[in-house]
Amino acid sequence: MKNFLKRRSVIAFIITCLLGMFAPMLMSGYPSDIVGAPFSRPIWWNTQLPASCEFNVTAEGVSFEWTKLPPAIFSLNGQVRAEAKKEVNIIWQTPQKKYLLSSLKGQNVYWINIDARDMVFKQSIGVPLIGNGAAHLFPCAGKYSLIIQNADTASLKLMLPGGRQELLGTDQRGRDVLWLLIYGIRTSLVIGIAATLIACLLGLGFGLAAGYIGGITDALVMRTVDVLLSIPTLPILMVLAGIWGKGLWQLVLILSIFSWMGTARSVRSMVLTVRESPWIESLKALGAKRSYILWRHLVPETAPIMLANIALGVPGAILSEAGLAFLGLSDPRLISWGRMLHEAHSFGAFTEGAWWLLLPPGIGIVAVCLIFMDMGRYLEEQIDPRLSGDKNA
């Protein structure tokens, strides 16, 4: 047991579980919160692009140096108070031009809501309608100023979400990719482990029945296994997911229905070899009931096989779920790594060249699969000497 815990994969597994379970609780906000501009790069990539910044603007306006490429968005929000008869002007001064962003009169309190993506706004300041409006407001490097004329007080926020943001960038909606990644741990693990557990239980049941009861039961179960194995897996999963439902538990059930066959076969063959052994014979001679033999003796025998099968089956379940999610056949409200890949594929990550939407979930899937495969292989190694050495009664 100690050796088991010392293995790197097990340590990684424990860390991943803890991260998946507790990180969401510790952090505030939801992964579906929009934190920035769509398709922002990770903050450490391509430092040519500007990082996001914000400015709190008062009635004096604000002035700053801008040396990088234009930000993705230009957004000004807040409140301005002034005398009703005065004309309040909000002016944007670039090294090249002066833009009159807004001209207001006739009220005491104005709510400002300026976004350079707005078509009407673009038209009003004479900027081409197509393309990044913010880019036109930041033509070159130099000194930029936001000037507010004739206002008494102002509390405005100038938000310039840059092309770079967050540790792993943002997706097509502006959500933090790192956040999504951590939230996805739970989904992948839950679906993978649950589906495999149910599949193994099914396999155990059928395998025991086929091996121990024998006869027609055996023939029936084996025929079913053959038939199920002959049906193409992904298409049937697709059909069931599409028709029955895409929710979490539906997916788990669908996945388990088509993965119990391997376990059933190995359990059955184990039962067949053990069934004739002297130790079982002596139990029968002593008058033990069938159910007693099954529960108290045969099932514990299968424990090592089951454990290894579970550890080796989880990667398969995770991959199947990821595959289905990638095809779009999972719950859209559920954050999973496969879903992230689906959205990357369908919502333009490729035209944007947004590799940070591809690599994190993909590497996450691969890493979790490798972890489970390593654990499973270790358990298998433990089984072999036991199976061959132990029961020579």
Partner: protein
């Protein structure tokens, strides 16, 4: 002797097909919701629905419906698609070539590459070649397929703009037969390449193990003793003996290939049966989904049966029952 064995295999396959048909029927008609809506577009007016109900025989008892359905499936009359209003058969036929080309070319390429590398590795035991082949094979076959394909797509279609981002053919397609073929090859290059790269590893490992075992057998030494050239010994005797399991595995890899093709077509946005199934399932287009699934199951079952038959042909030990040991 041979007859009965063949018969048993055919009956097995027919049972699987029967199960698939029944499954299809159950799924698409006894699902929650109005039975009518699974056959007839729910957007029709109530009067149209009633008439269509009569027309489609949905007012008949379910057993009768079942037999009608079986007849339709066996004669490949799949009805109209909800989404496109075209006969499903036409849609499938237009997409089948793409899928078949994808599946067969990647299967052949990965098998050929993997077998050749496996033999080379077995002949160079302990040397660099063997270790390289085994290492490469292990790496490429352990990654999830669609992830590799997405990465390759990003790398070679976006970062280095060598290949197209999507589709089976350019829009609009070029004129002239050679140009069209070249365009098609250009579009299919990355999908086929990605499937080959992911597939050869398993082959190389498997063939290498088989060959190492075969090369250590007595009969190979005897072939050498008979003064045969190295080429004859390796290919005419050792490889010839491991051919049956190779051919079997080749045909048995088709079902996995079907799943792989569905994903690949999705990643590269190809015009194939896989994407057709996906659209149908996502859009609740039951006739199309049922037909596409049935077709894919048919391909799978046929290939499994062929695998058994070919194995019987190539390995005489299986064919002729009763050994005189």
């Amino acid at each position: 002797m041979r007859r009965s064995w063949l018969l048993r295999r055919i009956v097995s396959s027919l049972i699987v097909l029967a199960v698939v048909l029944v499954l299809n029927f159950i799924l698409f008609r006894i699902m929650p919701g109005d039975a009518v809506s699974t056959i007839i577009d729910p957007n029709f007016s109530p009067e149209a629905k009633a008439r269509l109900r009569q027309l489609y025989g949905l007012d008949k008892p379910i057993l009768q419906q079942f037999f009608i359905y079986i007849k339709q499936m066996l004669t490949f009359r799949f009805g109209l698609s909800f989404l496109s209003r075209r006969p499903v058969w036409d849609e499938l036929i237009s997409r089948l070539p793409s899928t078949m080309v994808l599946m067969s070319s990647s299967m052949i390429l990965s098998a050929v590459l993997g077998i050749w590398l496996g033999i080379r590795a077995a002949l160079n035991r302990g040397k660099f070649t063997e270790r390289l082949v085994l290492r490469a094979g292990a790496v490429t076959s352990s990654f999830p397929s669609f992830f590799i394909q997405l990465v390759l797509l990003m790398l070679f279609a976006r970062t280095f703009k060598i290949f197209p981002l999507r589709g089976s053919l350019s829009v609009p397609p070029p004129s002239g037969v050679i140009e069209v073929v070249a365009d098609y090859v250009w579009h299919m290059a990355l999908p086929v390449l990605s499937l080959t790269v992911m597939g050869f590893g398993g082959w190389a490992l498997y063939v290498r193990n088989l060959m190492v075992r075969a090369l250590g057998e007595d009969y190979v030494l005897m072939a050498k003793a008979r003064g045969l050239s190295e080429h004859d010994v390796v290919y005419g005797h050792a490889f010839r003996t491991i051919l049956p399991p190779i051919l079997t595995i080749l045909l048995m890899s088709v079902p996995g290939l079907v799943s792989g093709a569905v994903i690949t077509e999705s990643v590269f946005s190809l015009h194939g049966v896989g994407t057709f199934l996906l659209e149908a399932v996502s859009g609740n287009d039951y006739p199309s989904a049922g037909a596409a699934f049935y077709l894919l199951a048919l391909i799978t079952v046929t290939c499994n049966l062929l695998a058994d038959i070919v194995y019987g042909v190539v390995d005489p030990r299986v064919r002729i029952e009763g050994h005189n040991e």
